[in-house]
Amino acid sequence: MLSSADFLFYFLGLVSLVFGLGVVLFRNPIYSALCLVITMISVAGIFGTLDAWFIAGVQLIVYAGAVTVLFVMVLMLFDLKHEMKTFSKGVIGNGVKLAASGVLLGMLGTYIWATYATEPTFKPLPAAATSSIKATKDLATSLFTTYIFSFEVIGILLLVIAVGAVTLSRITGGTHHAD
Protein backbone atom coordinates (compact mmCIF):
# COMPACT_ATOMS: atom_id res chain seq x y z
CA MET A 1 0.00 0.00 0.00
CA LEU A 2 1.43 3.28 -1.05
CA SER A 3 1.55 5.95 1.55
CA SER A 4 0.51 9.41 0.48
CA ALA A 5 4.14 10.55 0.39
CA ASP A 6 5.06 7.69 -1.90
CA PHE A 7 2.09 8.37 -4.12
CA LEU A 8 3.06 12.02 -4.36
CA PHE A 9 6.58 11.13 -5.35
CA TYR A 10 5.48 8.73 -8.04
CA PHE A 11 2.87 11.07 -9.38
CA LEU A 12 5.10 14.15 -9.45
CA GLY A 13 8.04 12.16 -10.75
CA LEU A 14 5.93 10.77 -13.57
CA VAL A 15 4.65 14.23 -14.45
CA SER A 16 8.11 15.73 -14.44
CA LEU A 17 9.49 12.92 -16.57
CA VAL A 18 6.67 13.01 -19.10
CA PHE A 19 6.79 16.75 -19.51
CA GLY A 20 10.58 16.72 -19.40
CA LEU A 21 10.43 14.40 -22.36
CA GLY A 22 7.97 16.80 -23.87
CA VAL A 23 10.53 19.60 -23.66
CA VAL A 24 12.90 17.49 -25.72
CA LEU A 25 10.43 16.10 -28.20
CA PHE A 26 8.00 18.90 -29.07
CA ARG A 27 8.76 20.41 -32.43
CA ASN A 28 7.32 23.77 -31.57
CA PRO A 29 9.57 25.48 -29.02
CA ILE A 30 6.59 27.21 -27.44
CA TYR A 31 5.17 23.87 -26.44
CA SER A 32 8.60 22.87 -25.21
CA ALA A 33 8.61 25.93 -23.00
CA LEU A 34 5.16 25.20 -21.62
CA CYS A 35 6.21 21.65 -20.89
CA LEU A 36 9.22 23.07 -19.11
CA VAL A 37 6.93 25.10 -16.89
CA ILE A 38 5.01 22.04 -15.84
CA THR A 39 8.25 20.16 -15.21
CA MET A 40 9.49 23.01 -13.05
CA ILE A 41 6.29 23.04 -11.03
CA SER A 42 6.36 19.32 -10.46
CA VAL A 43 10.01 19.52 -9.47
CA ALA A 44 8.95 22.15 -6.94
CA GLY A 45 6.46 19.59 -5.67
CA ILE A 46 9.23 17.01 -5.44
CA PHE A 47 11.22 19.44 -3.33
CA GLY A 48 8.10 19.65 -1.20
CA THR A 49 8.04 15.90 -0.67
CA LEU A 50 11.56 16.28 0.68
CA ASP A 51 10.42 18.93 3.19
CA ALA A 52 12.32 21.69 1.42
CA TRP A 53 9.37 24.02 1.26
CA PHE A 54 11.26 27.22 1.01
CA ILE A 55 13.31 25.91 -1.88
CA ALA A 56 10.09 24.73 -3.48
CA GLY A 57 8.71 28.25 -3.23
CA VAL A 58 11.91 29.70 -4.65
CA GLN A 59 11.74 27.18 -7.46
CA LEU A 60 8.26 28.45 -8.27
CA ILE A 61 9.25 32.09 -8.09
CA VAL A 62 12.56 31.89 -9.90
CA TYR A 63 12.18 29.06 -12.38
CA ALA A 64 8.50 28.86 -13.09
CA GLY A 65 7.72 32.52 -12.52
CA ALA A 66 10.78 34.19 -13.99
CA VAL A 67 13.14 32.11 -16.08
CA THR A 68 10.54 30.26 -18.07
CA VAL A 69 8.48 33.39 -18.52
CA LEU A 70 11.55 34.86 -20.12
CA PHE A 71 11.83 31.86 -22.42
CA VAL A 72 8.20 32.06 -23.44
CA MET A 73 8.42 35.80 -23.93
CA VAL A 74 11.48 35.56 -26.12
CA LEU A 75 9.91 32.81 -28.19
CA MET A 76 6.78 34.88 -28.66
CA LEU A 77 8.60 38.12 -29.33
CA PHE A 78 10.81 36.80 -32.03
CA ASP A 79 8.72 33.93 -33.31
CA LEU A 80 11.78 31.71 -33.29
CA LYS A 81 10.32 28.75 -35.10
CA HIS A 82 11.54 29.16 -38.62
CA GLU A 83 11.38 26.14 -40.80
CA MET A 84 14.23 24.04 -39.56
CA LYS A 85 14.91 20.51 -38.59
CA THR A 86 14.04 19.74 -35.02
CA PHE A 87 16.83 17.28 -34.40
CA SER A 88 20.41 17.01 -35.50
CA LYS A 89 21.22 14.90 -38.54
CA GLY A 90 23.74 12.13 -38.99
CA VAL A 91 23.27 8.48 -38.15
CA ILE A 92 26.71 8.08 -36.60
CA GLY A 93 26.57 11.26 -34.58
CA ASN A 94 23.12 10.60 -33.26
CA GLY A 95 24.04 7.01 -32.59
CA VAL A 96 27.02 8.05 -30.53
CA LYS A 97 24.98 10.63 -28.68
CA LEU A 98 22.24 8.15 -27.87
CA ALA A 99 24.74 5.49 -26.92
CA ALA A 100 26.69 7.80 -24.65
CA SER A 101 23.52 8.95 -22.94
CA GLY A 102 22.32 5.39 -22.58
CA VAL A 103 25.60 4.19 -21.18
CA LEU A 104 25.69 7.10 -18.78
CA LEU A 105 22.17 6.41 -17.63
CA GLY A 106 22.93 2.73 -17.23
CA MET A 107 26.00 3.39 -15.18
CA LEU A 108 24.28 5.98 -13.01
CA GLY A 109 21.40 3.59 -12.43
CA THR A 110 23.66 0.70 -11.60
CA TYR A 111 25.71 2.79 -9.27
CA ILE A 112 22.67 4.13 -7.46
CA TRP A 113 21.21 0.64 -7.27
CA ALA A 114 24.40 -0.79 -5.89
CA THR A 115 25.00 1.99 -3.41
CA TYR A 116 21.73 3.33 -2.12
CA ALA A 117 19.10 0.68 -2.74
CA THR A 118 19.84 -0.82 0.63
CA GLU A 119 18.59 2.32 2.34
CA PRO A 120 14.85 1.80 2.33
CA THR A 121 13.46 5.18 3.30
CA PHE A 122 14.41 8.44 4.83
CA LYS A 123 14.72 8.69 8.51
CA PRO A 124 11.77 10.67 9.81
CA LEU A 125 12.82 14.16 10.67
CA PRO A 126 12.86 15.11 14.33
CA ALA A 127 9.73 16.98 15.27
CA ALA A 128 11.48 20.29 15.81
CA ALA A 129 13.09 20.23 12.40
CA THR A 130 9.86 19.57 10.54
CA SER A 131 8.85 23.15 11.02
CA SER A 132 9.49 24.78 7.70
CA ILE A 133 10.39 28.05 9.34
CA LYS A 134 13.04 26.39 11.46
CA ALA A 135 14.52 24.67 8.40
CA THR A 136 14.50 27.93 6.47
CA LYS A 137 16.19 29.70 9.34
CA ASP A 138 18.89 27.04 9.33
CA LEU A 139 19.30 27.63 5.64
CA ALA A 140 19.54 31.36 6.18
CA THR A 141 22.07 30.95 8.95
CA SER A 142 24.39 28.82 6.90
CA LEU A 143 23.85 31.04 3.86
CA PHE A 144 24.93 34.10 5.80
CA THR A 145 27.76 32.58 7.76
CA THR A 146 29.39 29.61 6.05
CA TYR A 147 28.56 30.68 2.53
CA ILE A 148 28.77 34.42 3.02
CA PHE A 149 31.57 34.75 0.50
CA SER A 150 29.66 32.85 -2.16
CA PHE A 151 26.70 35.02 -1.39
CA GLU A 152 28.58 38.24 -2.00
CA VAL A 153 30.15 36.80 -5.13
CA ILE A 154 26.67 35.99 -6.37
CA GLY A 155 25.85 39.63 -5.83
CA ILE A 156 28.76 40.66 -8.02
CA LEU A 157 27.84 38.04 -10.59
CA LEU A 158 24.30 39.33 -10.80
CA LEU A 159 25.57 42.86 -11.23
CA VAL A 160 27.80 41.72 -14.06
CA ILE A 161 24.95 39.82 -15.66
CA ALA A 162 22.64 42.79 -15.39
CA VAL A 163 25.15 45.00 -17.13
CA GLY A 164 26.22 42.35 -19.61
CA ALA A 165 22.78 41.29 -20.72
CA VAL A 166 21.73 44.85 -21.42
CA THR A 167 24.95 45.55 -23.26
CA LEU A 168 24.55 42.38 -25.29
CA SER A 169 21.06 43.24 -26.30
CA ARG A 170 22.26 46.66 -27.40
CA ILE A 171 24.64 45.24 -29.98
CA THR A 172 23.31 45.98 -33.41
CA GLY A 173 26.29 45.48 -35.69
CA GLY A 174 28.84 42.70 -35.74
CA THR A 175 32.52 42.84 -35.00
CA HIS A 176 33.13 43.16 -38.70
CA HIS A 177 32.68 46.75 -39.56
CA ALA A 178 32.35 47.76 -43.12
CA ASP A 179 35.87 47.45 -44.43
Binding site: S4, I30, Y31, L34, V37, I41, A44, G48, W53, F54, A56, G57, V58, Q59, L60, I61, A64, G65, A66, V69, V72, M73, M76, L77, S131, S132, I133, T136
Partner: protein, 388 residues
Protein backbone atom coordinates in the same frame (compact mmCIF):
# COMPACT_ATOMS: atom_id res chain seq x y z
CA UNK B 1 -5.25 15.04 4.00
CA UNK B 2 -6.54 13.45 7.12
CA UNK B 3 -6.64 10.40 9.20
CA UNK B 4 -10.19 9.32 8.49
CA UNK B 5 -13.07 9.84 6.11
CA UNK B 6 -14.56 12.74 7.99
CA UNK B 7 -11.42 14.77 7.97
CA UNK B 8 -10.71 14.06 4.30
CA UNK B 9 -14.24 14.98 3.30
CA UNK B 10 -14.17 18.13 5.37
CA UNK B 11 -10.87 19.17 3.88
CA UNK B 12 -12.06 18.59 0.33
CA UNK B 13 -15.29 20.42 0.96
CA UNK B 14 -13.32 23.23 2.51
CA UNK B 15 -11.21 23.66 -0.58
CA UNK B 16 -14.23 23.52 -2.81
CA UNK B 17 -15.81 26.17 -0.61
CA UNK B 18 -12.79 28.42 -0.88
CA UNK B 19 -12.94 28.11 -4.62
CA UNK B 20 -16.65 28.73 -4.68
CA UNK B 21 -16.22 31.73 -2.44
CA UNK B 22 -13.78 33.10 -4.93
CA UNK B 23 -16.02 32.33 -7.88
CA UNK B 24 -19.11 33.55 -6.12
CA UNK B 25 -17.51 36.73 -4.98
CA UNK B 26 -16.89 37.65 -8.58
CA UNK B 27 -20.52 38.29 -9.52
CA UNK B 28 -20.97 40.22 -6.31
CA UNK B 29 -17.90 42.24 -7.03
CA UNK B 30 -18.97 42.89 -10.59
CA UNK B 31 -22.33 44.01 -9.32
CA UNK B 32 -20.60 46.13 -6.70
CA UNK B 33 -18.30 47.57 -9.27
CA UNK B 34 -21.14 48.55 -11.51
CA UNK B 35 -23.24 49.92 -8.72
CA UNK B 36 -20.40 51.83 -7.13
CA UNK B 37 -19.25 53.26 -10.40
CA UNK B 38 -22.82 54.27 -11.15
CA UNK B 39 -23.07 55.88 -7.76
CA UNK B 40 -19.87 57.76 -8.36
CA UNK B 41 -21.03 58.92 -11.75
CA UNK B 42 -24.52 59.84 -10.61
CA UNK B 43 -26.14 56.99 -12.52
CA UNK B 44 -28.29 54.12 -11.39
CA UNK B 45 -26.46 51.11 -12.67
CA UNK B 46 -28.16 47.74 -13.02
CA UNK B 47 -31.25 47.85 -10.81
CA UNK B 48 -33.98 45.97 -12.62
CA UNK B 49 -33.23 42.29 -12.29
CA UNK B 50 -33.98 41.26 -8.75
CA UNK B 51 -33.72 43.45 -5.70
CA UNK B 52 -31.16 46.21 -6.31
CA UNK B 53 -30.26 44.42 -9.50
CA UNK B 54 -28.60 41.60 -7.62
CA UNK B 55 -29.80 38.91 -9.98
CA UNK B 56 -28.41 40.79 -12.96
CA UNK B 57 -25.16 38.91 -12.72
CA UNK B 58 -26.83 35.54 -12.76
CA UNK B 59 -28.58 36.58 -15.89
CA UNK B 60 -25.27 37.75 -17.30
CA UNK B 61 -23.65 34.44 -16.51
CA UNK B 62 -26.42 32.53 -18.24
CA UNK B 63 -26.13 34.86 -21.18
CA UNK B 64 -22.38 34.25 -21.33
CA UNK B 65 -22.93 30.52 -21.35
CA UNK B 66 -25.16 30.74 -24.37
CA UNK B 67 -22.89 32.93 -26.43
CA UNK B 68 -21.60 31.64 -29.72
CA UNK B 69 -18.33 29.75 -29.21
CA UNK B 70 -15.66 31.43 -31.25
CA UNK B 71 -12.29 30.15 -32.28
CA UNK B 72 -9.91 32.36 -34.29
CA UNK B 73 -8.96 31.08 -37.70
CA UNK B 74 -5.25 30.60 -37.16
CA UNK B 75 -5.42 30.13 -33.40
CA UNK B 76 -3.79 27.33 -31.50
CA UNK B 77 -6.46 25.33 -29.73
CA UNK B 78 -4.42 24.14 -26.76
CA UNK B 79 -3.27 27.61 -25.84
CA UNK B 80 -6.46 29.38 -26.76
CA UNK B 81 -8.58 27.17 -24.54
CA UNK B 82 -5.88 26.60 -21.94
CA UNK B 83 -5.39 30.28 -21.21
CA UNK B 84 -8.72 30.94 -19.45
CA UNK B 85 -8.33 27.81 -17.38
CA UNK B 86 -4.81 28.88 -16.51
CA UNK B 87 -6.19 32.29 -15.53
CA UNK B 88 -8.28 30.69 -12.81
CA UNK B 89 -5.56 28.63 -11.23
CA UNK B 90 -2.93 30.96 -9.73
CA UNK B 91 -5.36 33.27 -7.98
CA UNK B 92 -7.36 30.43 -6.49
CA UNK B 93 -4.24 28.53 -5.43
CA UNK B 94 -2.83 31.60 -3.74
CA UNK B 95 -6.09 32.40 -2.02
CA UNK B 96 -6.32 28.89 -0.64
CA UNK B 97 -2.89 29.28 0.92
CA UNK B 98 -3.95 32.27 3.04
CA UNK B 99 -5.70 31.64 6.34
CA UNK B 100 -9.21 33.04 6.10
CA UNK B 101 -10.12 32.46 9.71
CA UNK B 102 -8.80 31.15 12.99
CA UNK B 103 -8.08 27.44 13.13
CA UNK B 104 -10.52 25.52 15.29
CA UNK B 105 -10.37 22.41 17.36
CA UNK B 106 -13.11 19.78 17.48
CA UNK B 107 -13.41 17.55 20.52
CA UNK B 108 -14.27 13.91 20.23
CA UNK B 109 -17.92 13.47 19.28
CA UNK B 110 -20.33 10.77 18.33
CA UNK B 111 -22.01 10.87 14.98
CA UNK B 112 -23.66 8.19 12.89
CA UNK B 113 -23.05 5.71 15.61
CA UNK B 114 -19.32 5.92 15.88
CA UNK B 115 -16.73 7.97 17.62
CA UNK B 116 -14.94 10.64 15.61
CA UNK B 117 -11.59 11.55 17.02
CA UNK B 118 -10.52 15.05 17.94
CA UNK B 119 -9.69 17.16 14.93
CA UNK B 120 -7.82 20.35 14.20
CA UNK B 121 -9.02 22.23 11.18
CA UNK B 122 -7.53 25.28 9.55
CA UNK B 123 -9.62 27.82 7.66
CA UNK B 124 -7.33 27.51 4.70
CA UNK B 125 -6.79 25.09 1.86
CA UNK B 126 -3.33 24.00 2.85
CA UNK B 127 -0.53 25.27 5.03
CA UNK B 128 3.03 24.70 3.89
CA UNK B 129 4.52 26.58 6.77
CA UNK B 130 6.41 29.00 4.54
CA UNK B 131 3.21 30.86 3.73
CA UNK B 132 4.10 33.95 1.81
CA UNK B 133 6.81 32.33 -0.31
CA UNK B 134 4.38 29.83 -1.73
CA UNK B 135 1.77 32.52 -2.30
CA UNK B 136 4.25 34.65 -4.21
CA UNK B 137 5.45 31.63 -6.16
CA UNK B 138 2.00 30.55 -7.15
CA UNK B 139 0.78 33.98 -8.10
CA UNK B 140 3.87 34.56 -10.23
CA UNK B 141 2.46 31.89 -12.56
CA UNK B 142 -0.22 34.36 -13.59
CA UNK B 143 1.88 35.60 -16.51
CA UNK B 144 1.41 32.35 -18.39
CA UNK B 145 -2.28 32.80 -18.83
CA UNK B 146 -1.72 36.15 -20.51
CA UNK B 147 1.05 34.86 -22.71
CA UNK B 148 -0.91 31.78 -23.71
CA UNK B 149 -3.94 33.86 -24.56
CA UNK B 150 -1.89 36.30 -26.55
CA UNK B 151 -0.11 33.67 -28.52
CA UNK B 152 -3.00 31.27 -28.87
CA UNK B 153 -5.33 33.70 -30.56
CA UNK B 154 -2.64 34.59 -33.15
CA UNK B 155 -3.71 38.18 -33.29
CA UNK B 156 -1.20 40.98 -33.29
CA UNK B 157 -3.11 43.02 -30.75
CA UNK B 158 -3.56 40.06 -28.49
CA UNK B 159 0.13 39.30 -28.56
CA UNK B 160 1.10 42.89 -27.93
CA UNK B 161 -1.36 43.12 -25.10
CA UNK B 162 -0.08 39.92 -23.61
CA UNK B 163 3.53 41.04 -23.81
CA UNK B 164 2.65 44.38 -22.30
CA UNK B 165 0.69 42.77 -19.55
CA UNK B 166 3.35 40.27 -18.65
CA UNK B 167 6.14 42.85 -18.79
CA UNK B 168 4.08 45.03 -16.49
CA UNK B 169 3.31 42.15 -14.20
CA UNK B 170 6.90 41.10 -13.79
CA UNK B 171 8.05 44.68 -13.31
CA UNK B 172 5.70 45.24 -10.44
CA UNK B 173 6.34 41.83 -8.99
CA UNK B 174 9.76 43.14 -8.02
CA UNK B 175 8.39 46.04 -6.04
CA UNK B 176 5.70 43.77 -4.61
CA UNK B 177 8.17 41.16 -3.44
CA UNK B 178 10.61 43.69 -2.11
CA UNK B 179 8.03 45.69 -0.21
CA UNK B 180 7.22 42.61 1.85
CA UNK B 181 10.81 42.13 3.01
CA UNK B 182 10.50 44.90 5.55
CA UNK B 183 7.41 43.54 7.23
CA UNK B 184 8.83 40.02 7.18
CA UNK B 185 11.85 41.36 8.99
CA UNK B 186 9.59 42.85 11.63
CA UNK B 187 7.64 39.65 12.14
CA UNK B 188 10.63 37.38 11.74
CA UNK B 189 8.66 34.58 10.14
CA UNK B 190 7.08 33.45 6.88
CA UNK B 191 4.11 31.73 8.45
CA UNK B 192 0.80 33.55 8.24
CA UNK B 193 -0.37 32.23 11.58
CA UNK B 194 2.69 33.55 13.36
CA UNK B 195 2.27 36.87 11.61
CA UNK B 196 -1.36 37.14 12.67
CA UNK B 197 -0.55 35.97 16.17
CA UNK B 198 1.98 38.78 16.49
CA UNK B 199 -0.64 41.31 15.48
CA UNK B 200 -3.21 40.13 17.95
CA UNK B 201 -3.95 42.12 21.07
CA UNK B 202 -4.41 45.72 21.74
CA UNK B 203 -1.69 48.12 22.65
CA UNK B 204 0.72 48.85 19.84
CA UNK B 205 3.97 47.66 21.36
CA UNK B 206 7.38 48.40 19.99
CA UNK B 207 10.97 48.43 21.05
CA UNK B 208 12.64 51.81 21.05
CA UNK B 209 16.34 51.65 21.79
CA UNK B 210 16.05 48.90 24.30
CA UNK B 211 12.92 50.19 26.01
CA UNK B 212 9.51 48.75 25.29
CA UNK B 213 6.91 51.40 24.60
CA UNK B 214 3.25 51.02 23.86
CA UNK B 215 0.46 53.17 22.57
CA UNK B 216 -2.72 52.07 24.24
CA UNK B 217 -5.29 53.19 21.72
CA UNK B 218 -3.79 51.58 18.63
CA UNK B 219 -4.06 47.94 17.62
CA UNK B 220 -0.82 46.06 17.20
CA UNK B 221 -0.98 46.08 13.42
CA UNK B 222 1.79 45.73 10.87
CA UNK B 223 0.88 48.95 9.13
CA UNK B 224 2.25 50.96 12.02
CA UNK B 225 5.58 49.18 11.77
CA UNK B 226 5.98 49.49 8.05
CA UNK B 227 3.66 52.06 6.50
CA UNK B 228 5.86 52.70 3.47
CA UNK B 229 6.00 49.00 2.68
CA UNK B 230 2.23 48.78 2.93
CA UNK B 231 1.77 51.66 0.54
CA UNK B 232 4.17 50.23 -2.01
CA UNK B 233 2.61 46.81 -1.69
CA UNK B 234 -0.84 48.14 -2.27
CA UNK B 235 0.19 50.25 -5.26
CA UNK B 236 2.14 47.40 -6.81
CA UNK B 237 -0.79 45.06 -6.38
CA UNK B 238 -2.87 47.35 -8.59
CA UNK B 239 -0.40 46.84 -11.40
CA UNK B 240 -0.05 43.18 -10.59
CA UNK B 241 -3.75 42.67 -11.15
CA UNK B 242 -3.83 44.85 -14.27
CA UNK B 243 -6.38 47.14 -12.69
CA UNK B 244 -6.84 50.76 -13.46
CA UNK B 245 -4.84 52.97 -13.34
CA UNK B 246 -2.50 50.28 -14.60
CA UNK B 247 -4.74 48.46 -17.07
CA UNK B 248 -2.53 49.30 -20.03
CA UNK B 249 -2.63 45.79 -21.50
CA UNK B 250 -6.27 46.29 -22.35
CA UNK B 251 -6.00 49.92 -23.28
CA UNK B 252 -8.88 50.03 -25.68
CA UNK B 253 -7.60 53.02 -27.57
CA UNK B 254 -4.38 51.31 -28.55
CA UNK B 255 -4.83 47.59 -28.31
CA UNK B 256 -8.52 46.85 -28.91
CA UNK B 257 -8.93 44.73 -25.80
CA UNK B 258 -5.48 43.46 -25.10
CA UNK B 259 -4.74 39.80 -24.71
CA UNK B 260 -8.41 38.80 -24.63
CA UNK B 261 -9.39 40.51 -27.83
CA UNK B 262 -10.38 37.26 -29.43
CA UNK B 263 -12.25 35.91 -26.45
CA UNK B 264 -15.93 36.01 -25.78
CA UNK B 265 -18.54 34.23 -23.77
CA UNK B 266 -17.61 32.37 -20.65
CA UNK B 267 -13.92 32.23 -21.52
CA UNK B 268 -13.78 36.00 -21.19
CA UNK B 269 -15.60 35.76 -17.89
CA UNK B 270 -12.95 33.35 -16.66
CA UNK B 271 -10.28 35.93 -17.27
CA UNK B 272 -12.29 38.30 -15.13
CA UNK B 273 -12.62 35.67 -12.45
CA UNK B 274 -8.86 35.32 -12.49
CA UNK B 275 -8.39 39.06 -12.23
CA UNK B 276 -10.78 39.35 -9.31
CA UNK B 277 -9.06 36.36 -7.75
CA UNK B 278 -5.77 38.21 -7.89
CA UNK B 279 -7.44 41.24 -6.38
CA UNK B 280 -8.72 39.13 -3.56
CA UNK B 281 -5.32 37.63 -2.96
CA UNK B 282 -3.76 41.06 -2.80
CA UNK B 283 -6.44 42.31 -0.45
CA UNK B 284 -6.12 39.25 1.74
CA UNK B 285 -2.36 39.67 1.92
CA UNK B 286 -2.84 43.32 2.71
CA UNK B 287 -5.21 42.42 5.53
CA UNK B 288 -2.96 39.67 6.81
CA UNK B 289 0.30 41.54 6.79
CA UNK B 290 -0.74 45.01 7.73
CA UNK B 291 -4.19 44.88 9.33
CA UNK B 292 -4.13 42.00 11.72
CA UNK B 293 -5.54 39.25 9.52
CA UNK B 294 -8.73 37.78 10.88
CA UNK B 295 -8.37 39.29 14.33
CA UNK B 296 -10.71 42.00 15.55
CA UNK B 297 -9.12 45.23 16.74
CA UNK B 298 -9.99 46.26 20.30
CA UNK B 299 -11.32 42.75 20.97
CA UNK B 300 -9.23 39.89 22.24
CA UNK B 301 -9.58 36.54 20.50
CA UNK B 302 -10.53 34.80 23.74
CA UNK B 303 -13.34 37.19 24.43
CA UNK B 304 -14.89 36.31 21.09
CA UNK B 305 -14.74 32.65 21.98
CA UNK B 306 -16.15 33.40 25.44
CA UNK B 307 -18.87 35.48 23.93
CA UNK B 308 -19.87 32.70 21.58
CA UNK B 309 -19.88 29.96 24.19
CA UNK B 310 -21.39 31.95 27.03
CA UNK B 311 -23.74 34.09 25.01
CA UNK B 312 -25.88 31.14 24.23
CA UNK B 313 -25.16 31.12 20.53
CA UNK B 314 -23.83 27.59 20.75
CA UNK B 315 -23.66 25.32 23.71
CA UNK B 316 -21.70 22.41 22.38
CA UNK B 317 -17.99 23.28 22.43
CA UNK B 318 -17.51 21.97 18.90
CA UNK B 319 -20.19 24.23 17.51
CA UNK B 320 -18.82 27.06 19.57
CA UNK B 321 -15.35 26.56 18.13
CA UNK B 322 -16.75 26.40 14.64
CA UNK B 323 -18.85 29.49 15.12
CA UNK B 324 -15.92 31.42 16.57
CA UNK B 325 -13.86 30.54 13.56
CA UNK B 326 -16.72 31.57 11.31
CA UNK B 327 -16.89 34.93 13.01
CA UNK B 328 -13.21 35.45 12.40
CA UNK B 329 -13.74 34.41 8.80
CA UNK B 330 -16.44 37.05 8.43
CA UNK B 331 -14.18 39.66 9.95
CA UNK B 332 -11.48 38.75 7.52
CA UNK B 333 -13.94 38.89 4.65
CA UNK B 334 -14.99 42.32 5.79
CA UNK B 335 -11.41 43.55 5.74
CA UNK B 336 -10.91 42.05 2.30
CA UNK B 337 -14.07 43.72 1.08
CA UNK B 338 -12.88 47.06 2.29
CA UNK B 339 -9.75 46.76 0.22
CA UNK B 340 -11.74 45.55 -2.76
CA UNK B 341 -13.89 48.65 -2.43
CA UNK B 342 -10.76 50.75 -2.53
CA UNK B 343 -9.79 48.97 -5.74
CA UNK B 344 -13.11 49.88 -7.28
CA UNK B 345 -12.98 53.38 -5.92
CA UNK B 346 -9.52 53.95 -7.39
CA UNK B 347 -10.62 52.54 -10.71
CA UNK B 348 -13.24 55.22 -11.14
CA UNK B 349 -11.12 58.01 -9.74
CA UNK B 350 -7.73 57.92 -11.36
CA UNK B 351 -6.93 58.22 -15.05
CA UNK B 352 -4.85 55.65 -16.83
CA UNK B 353 -1.07 55.95 -17.03
CA UNK B 354 0.88 55.96 -20.25
CA UNK B 355 2.93 52.83 -20.73
CA UNK B 356 6.31 54.48 -20.34
CA UNK B 357 5.08 56.28 -17.24
CA UNK B 358 3.91 52.96 -15.90
CA UNK B 359 7.27 51.30 -16.41
CA UNK B 360 9.10 54.31 -15.01
CA UNK B 361 6.91 54.22 -11.95
CA UNK B 362 7.61 50.56 -11.40
CA UNK B 363 11.34 50.51 -11.96
CA UNK B 364 12.48 53.97 -11.08
CA UNK B 365 10.14 54.91 -8.28
CA UNK B 366 8.59 51.93 -6.56
CA UNK B 367 11.60 49.63 -6.68
CA UNK B 368 14.02 52.17 -5.17
CA UNK B 369 11.47 53.13 -2.54
CA UNK B 370 10.87 49.52 -1.67
CA UNK B 371 14.60 49.06 -1.37
CA UNK B 372 14.79 52.14 0.80
CA UNK B 373 12.04 50.74 2.95
CA UNK B 374 13.96 47.51 3.37
CA UNK B 375 17.19 49.22 4.32
CA UNK B 376 15.39 51.60 6.63
CA UNK B 377 13.62 48.77 8.41
CA UNK B 378 16.81 46.78 8.74
CA UNK B 379 18.80 49.65 10.15
CA UNK B 380 15.98 50.61 12.46
CA UNK B 381 15.61 47.08 13.76
CA UNK B 382 19.33 46.58 14.16
CA UNK B 383 19.79 49.77 16.12
CA UNK B 384 16.59 50.10 18.07
CA UNK B 385 17.02 46.71 19.65
CA UNK B 386 20.03 47.59 21.66
CA UNK B 387 19.79 50.04 24.52
CA UNK B 388 21.57 53.31 23.94
Amino acid sequence: MGKDVFEIVVNCVKMLLIFLVMVQLVPILVWLERRVSAFMQNRFGPNRVGPLGLIQLLADAVKFLFKEPFFPEKGMAVMYYGAPIMALIPGALALAAIPLGAPFHLEQFTWLGREWGPYDFIMQGYDFGVGIVIVLGVSSLGAYSLLMAGWGSSNKYSLLGALRASAQMVSYELALGLSLVGILMVFNTFSFYDIIAQQTGMPLTFNFFGKVHSIAWLPNWGIFFNPLGALIFFCASFAETNRLPFDLPEAEGELVAGFHTEYGGFALLMFYIGEYGHMMVASALMATFYFGGYTIPYVANESVANWVSSGGLATHPNWAAFLTSLIFFLVFLLKVFLFLLIYIWVRWTLPRFRYDQLMDLGWKTMLPWALFNTVLTAVWLAFSHRPV
